[in-house]
């Protein structure tokens, strides 16, 4: 049992955000990207690099904390840690920063994610180079030899099952792709800023792994994002409007399955993802519910991931994610505008981290698709394995 009499509610804030450009070929190292995003976040916070005494990284990042200490010329760290796996990390990384700060282990914590996800190591390609796969607790031997090789193929099995159980349609998934694309069209930083998308375009696109089409997939991207976390009290002395961290949570389903990716297919339900247990903890800690959320940045490695999270986070009943998405709810002016920078589907895939940056922009009132009066923003990092999420709130 966790002791929630010691609450972190609203006691820390994100005071600085930074991002590089998002591209298909950055021409820079992961480390350079990390340094650029980090310096931007530190400057945005009104701090100098020497103020940073903690760093949290993602387990799949190629950049280590000491690499960044070396490159930025930091005097030293009193705290360094990592979260994962992969896309599960971003909100959990902020949670680690909060824990470090509230327990006195650090005062200004830098949280970053950097990857040459398009020109370097591409997660969408088959990972297999060796002759034999699996073992060592990966359980890959039960999946990869059959040609089940990528996350997209796995999410296609999940989408197909959602269609079988609930009658979800291609147009439902398309509504998610279109909402993200329309927000990207307004975002000068988004890779798809100049490329409009209609439902006809969506449906006519080639299938990658049925029922998923080209535009159900996120954009493998080169880029980096970073944020600076400190106490809410300290935030009052800093120049930018703080985004209070109302609550942060991690969650895993009751039958999580071993390994990292494909064993999820053995879960009791493959259409209920770790968002559901994460949401329960998050809302309890926040003292808020889905009805209080003004805008959401939902982890969107694929459209189907958004659809299941609409259900998992309580915006609609189980099985009704499709009709909810198709009803216009996700658009500006709808019940739940999502991914207001374009998300992974149309801004860039910084593995969940650009969602936190965009969430802060909403709380500051600075988004390129600003939701008027947005005071509560949900950000999720819940794909397949366990998940994490947080709620940002205006001070």
């Amino acid at each position: 049992m966790t002791d929630e009499t010691i609450s972190h509610r609203d006691r820390c804030a994100i005071v600085g955000i930074g991002a590089t450009d998002f591209s298909r070929d950055s021409g820079r190292s992961d480390l350079t990207l990390a340094a650029q995003a980090s310096l931007a976040a530190i400057e945005d916070a009104g701090l100098v690099p020497a103020d940073i005494d903690g760093i949290v990284r993602c387990d799949m990042d190629l950049v280590r904390s000491n690499d960044l200490v070396h490159t930025l010329g930091l005097p030293g760290l009193s705290y360094f840690c990592e979260a994962g796996p992969g896309g599960v990390a971003p909100c959990a990384m902020v949670g680690l920063a909060v824990g470090a700060i509230l327990s006195g282990q650090a005062s200004h914590v830098l949280v970053f994610r950097s990857l040459n996800g398009r020109s370097g190591r591409r997660y969408g390609l088959s990972p297999v180079a060796q002759a034999r796969v699996g073992g060592g607790g990966t359980y890959d031997e039960f999946f990869l030899p059959y040609g089940l090789l990528t996350a997209g193929q796995e999410f296609a099995l999940i989408a197909q099952r959602h269609m079988i159980e609930y009658g979800t349609t291609a147009e439902d998934l398309g509504a998610i792709a279109l909402a993200c694309r329309a927000r990207a069209n307004a975002n000068p930083r988004a890779q798809m800023r100049d490329r409009t998308l209609t439902m006809e375009d969506y449906l006519a696109a080639r299938t990658i792994s049925r029922p998923l089409r080209l535009f159900d997939f996120c954009l493998e991207t080169d880029g980096a994002c970073a944020v600076v976390v400190t106490t809410a009290e300290r935030a009052r002395d800093l120049p930018r409007r703080p985004a209070l961290i109302r609550a942060v949570a991690q969650g895993s389903p009751p039958s999580p399955q071993p390994g990292i990716m494909f064993p999820v297919l053995l879960r009791e339900s493959i259409t209920t993802l770790p968002g559901k247990p994460t949401a329960a903890t998050l809302y309890r800690r926040a003292g808020l519910g889905p009805e209080d959320v003004d805008v959401a940045q939902l982890y969107d490695c694929f459209t189907i991931t958004v659809l299941t999270q609409l259900e998992d986070y309580g915006f609609c009943a189980k099985g009704e994610g499709g009709p909810f998405a198709s009803s216009g709810s996700l658009e500006l002016g709808g019940r739940l505008p999502i991914n207001t920078g374009g998300g992974h589907l149309s801004e860039g895939y910084i593995h969940g981290m650009n969602h936190i940056v965009e969430g802060v922009r909403q709380i500051r009132g600075e988004s390129s698709s600003q939701v008027p009066g947005a005071e509560v923003c949900l950000v999720t990092s819940t794909a397949l394995p366990p998940g994490s999420a947080l709620i940002l709130r205006a001070a």
């Binding site: 034999r132 796969v133 039960f142 030899p145 059959y146 090789l149 299938t207 792994s209 053995l266």
Partner: protein, 139 residues
């Protein structure tokens, strides 16, 4: 389903999963099972958390199941797996909740819940993979 490159082979010497592939070489489909309570422990682990017991063993299955989900792969990512092919996810009749993956060439007509049966596919180096196809398909 054979492309130009050698297909991906499973390890056959992992302590937790080797028995599955050993059985497949004998033409048998097995699932790790708790000796005390009969719980099916798939993906295979050596410990039953219901009984708090390490007394587990491989148990033969009938080789019948139902189609739980599938995807037709149209975008090729590995040279040994030419598209289109169809990845199937099959839930075992004898072990509800236990699902195994298979693959079928091309784009077969499939219906959720349809009966499937196992067949054994001999790969490179004598490795045998349990595979799945619609029940009634001539083996």
């Amino acid at each position: 389903m054979t492309g130009e490159a050698p297909r991906i082979l499973p390890v056959e010497d992992d302590p937790d999963s080797a028995g599955f592939f050993e059985a497949a070489r004998r033409g048998e489909l097995v699932v790790r099972t708790c000796a005390a309570c009969g719980a099916h422990l798939h993906l295979p682990v050596a410990y039953c958390h219901r009984c708090r017991s390490f007394d587990t063993r491989w148990t033969a299955m009938s080789g019948r199941g139902r189609l739980y989900s599938w995807t037709v792969v149209d975008h090729q990512v590995h040279p040994a797996y030419p598209v289109p092919y169809t990845v199937v996810l099959v839930e075992l009749d004898d072990a509800p909740g236990v699902r195994l993956v298979g693959s079928l060439p091309g784009v077969p007509e499939l219906v959720a819940g349809q009966p499937m049966h196992v067949r054994f596919d001999t790969m490179e180096e004598g490795v045998v993979l349990p595979q799945w196809e619609p029940a009634g398909t001539p083996g």
